[in-house]
Structures are given as C-alpha cells and as structure tokens.
C-alpha cells in the first residue's frame, strides 16, 4: 500500500513538473525543471528497488547533463524567448504517442509479476549462480561487467566516441583551422 502511495505521489509530481516544463518560456527554467524531472525519475527507480539505475539517473541525468545544458544555454544569445508558434501538430503528435504507449502498457505484464517473460529466461540462472561463483553480492555488477561484458565495452566505446565527437566539433583548434581556411580562401579569391 505504501509503495503504491509513494509511487502515486511521485508520478503526480512528475506530471506537474512536465506541465511546468511545457508552460515556461525561459530556457534556464526549462533546464532546471528537466533536472528536477530526472531527479523525480530516480526517486521512482529507488521506489522500484532499482538502486543502480536510480544512482546513474541522479548522477548523470540530473547532475552532469543539467550542468552541460546550463553551459550550452549560457552560450546562446540573450533576451530571446522561446515562442510557441503553432501548437496543433505537436499536440496531435503527443496525444497519439501517449495513446500508443497506454495501449502498450495495458498489454505489459503486471509490475513485479514473477511469471513475466523477463524473469523466466536467464535471470533465475544469474541470481542463483552468481553469488556462489563470484562471491560478489551485487548481482547488477556481475551482470554488467561479467555476463554482459561485451555490452559494457560497447557502452564505454560509445561514451568515448561521443566525447571525441564533441571535442572535434567544439574545441577552439577546429575553429582556428576553420577561420584560417576562410582567410586562405579569401586570399585565393583576391
């Protein structure tokens, strides 16, 4: 019962935050509210006993990405407010997507159902085997680093590549090269 009450409270807070994200026109407030939104999401994950996911959501979602969004917003020209020009297409899109999601949710197995397909395939083996074999109590770590080592390697490479991409796009070296290129072009034209 408590579980349901807390979940209800958190989800209604999520709805309120989403509504205010929709309403505000100031960019910084939208960034701050998005941070609050992800923090609420991580509270929901804690309530669902997914502590590792909640930890990641709190650290990455509401911590670092909020800072990065603030930094990006600080680079934008000031004084311009976000104008909502034509709401009609986005409302139709949002309503249809949420309808599809609601239909899908109705077909999902119930929360915590022990006979759900995801709990029957490999999870029982992992849960039974990992504690005796690894002597590591946190099964999530075992699955992440050992059973699913390839996936985690892929994730690390994705993060690495994302960092490389941002460095290549934004660092001043690239800008210098670009400006030099333009200058050279102008000289050639003359």
């Amino acid at each position: 019962m408590n579980f349901l009450l807390i979940n209800f409270f958190l989800v209604s807070l999520l709805l309120v935050t989403a509504f205010f994200i929709f309403k505000t026109t100031s960019l910084i407030s939208v960034v701050a509210l998005t941070g609050a939104f992800t923090l609420l999401c991580s509270a929901i994950y804690v309530n669902l006993d997914a502590v590792d996911v909640a930890f990641t959501e709190a650290a990455v979602g509401s911590g670092i990405s909020t800072i990065l969004m603030v930094m990006a917003a600080a680079k934008l020209p000031e004084g311009k407010k976000n104008k909502l020009i034509n709401l009609f297409p986005s409302i139709i899109l949002a309503v249809s997507i949420s309808l599809i999601l609601i239909i899908i949710i109705a077909n999902l197995p119930l929360l915590g159902d022990p006979n759900a397909p995801i709990h029957l395939h490999v999870v029982p083996e992992y849960l039974k085997e990992s504690k005796d074999f690894f002597h590591i109590p946190n099964v999530v770590t075992n699955i992440l680093a050992s059973y699913r080592g390839f996936d985690t390697l892929g994730e690390t490479i994705v993060i690495f590549t994302a960092g490389l991409g941002v460095i290549a796009l934004l660092t001043s070296n690239t800008l210098n090269r670009k400006t030099n290129f333009k200058k050279n072009n102008k000289k050639n034209e003359r």
Partner: protein, 145 residues
C-alpha cells in the same frame, strides 16, 4: 569569460571544502560497486563533478592547470584500452575474450580482478569524457588567434 572567477568567498571556500570528499565518495562508489549500488559509470560522473565544480568556481584556466587537456584526452583512451586490454590478456591466458576466469588460478578471484579492472576502465573513461565535454562547452566560442 575564461578567467571569470567567482567573487563570492562563500562559493570558493565551500567548493574547496567539498572537493576532496566528492572525490573520496567517487572512489568509494567505484570500488564498493561490488557490494552496493554503484560502479564505474556513476563513480566516473561523481569524480568528474568535483573537477567541474572546481573549474566552475575558479575559472577554466585554473581547471586546465589541474587537469591538463592533453592528459585528459590520453586518459580517455587509457580507460577504453584498459577495458579492451583485459579481454586481450584473457585471450593470451588461453581464455576467451573478456573471460575473467583465467586471470587468476582461482576462477572466482579471477572474476574479482577482471570486474575491478573493467570497472576502473569504465570509470576513467567516463570521468575524463565528462571533463572534456565540460571544457569543450565552456570554452566554445573563444577563438584564440
């Protein structure tokens, strides 16, 4: 923008006090990930948060003295290579790629060693990529001729 140092003494004192505990908490999350929630991804972000806080309060050039950009970029590669290298080592020890059982005479200890090394690689990469992201965003738009 680059050397805009916060004038408030409260911010600079508090960030100086918080710097070490944040990094210690990051290391705790990194190496306690086997026993509680946490691991490389979260720990990397927490450690990066300490350095980002430092550069936010004391200016970007001081942050660059603390973590030089080139060292940061090399560490990005070191993390991924450490992860991939554990797999290569296990191939040389007659195992399969990323099979940690062969890293030690006892398979269980081998798994421990493998998991700790792999998580360390993830942590290094995530932390340095986050610092690099912050520095790229913060220094964007300054063209030094």
């Amino acid at each position: 923008m680059r050397d805009k140092i916060s004038s408030s003494p409260v911010l600079s004192v508090v960030s100086k006090i918080l710097f070490a505990p944040i990094i210690i908490f990051g290391l705790y999350v990194q190496f306690h990930g086997d026993y509680g929630p946490g691991g490389g991804f979260q720990a990397g972000v927490i450690v990066a948060a300490a350095f980002i806080l430092y550069s936010m309060i004391f200016g970007l050039s001081k942050g660059e003295t603390l973590v030089p950009i080139m060292i940061n970029r090399y560490l990005m590669c070191v993390g991924v290579l450490l992860y991939a290298g554990v797999g290569i080592v296990s191939i040389f020890l007659d195992g399969m790629y990323l099979d940690y059982n062969v890293l030690s005479s006892d398979p269980s200890t081998g798994q421990h060693i493998g998991i700790i090394l792999v998580e360390l690689g993830v942590g290094i990469t995530v932390a340095t990529v986050m610092i690099a992201l912050y520095h790229s965003f913060a220094s964007f738009g300054e063209i030094n001729e």
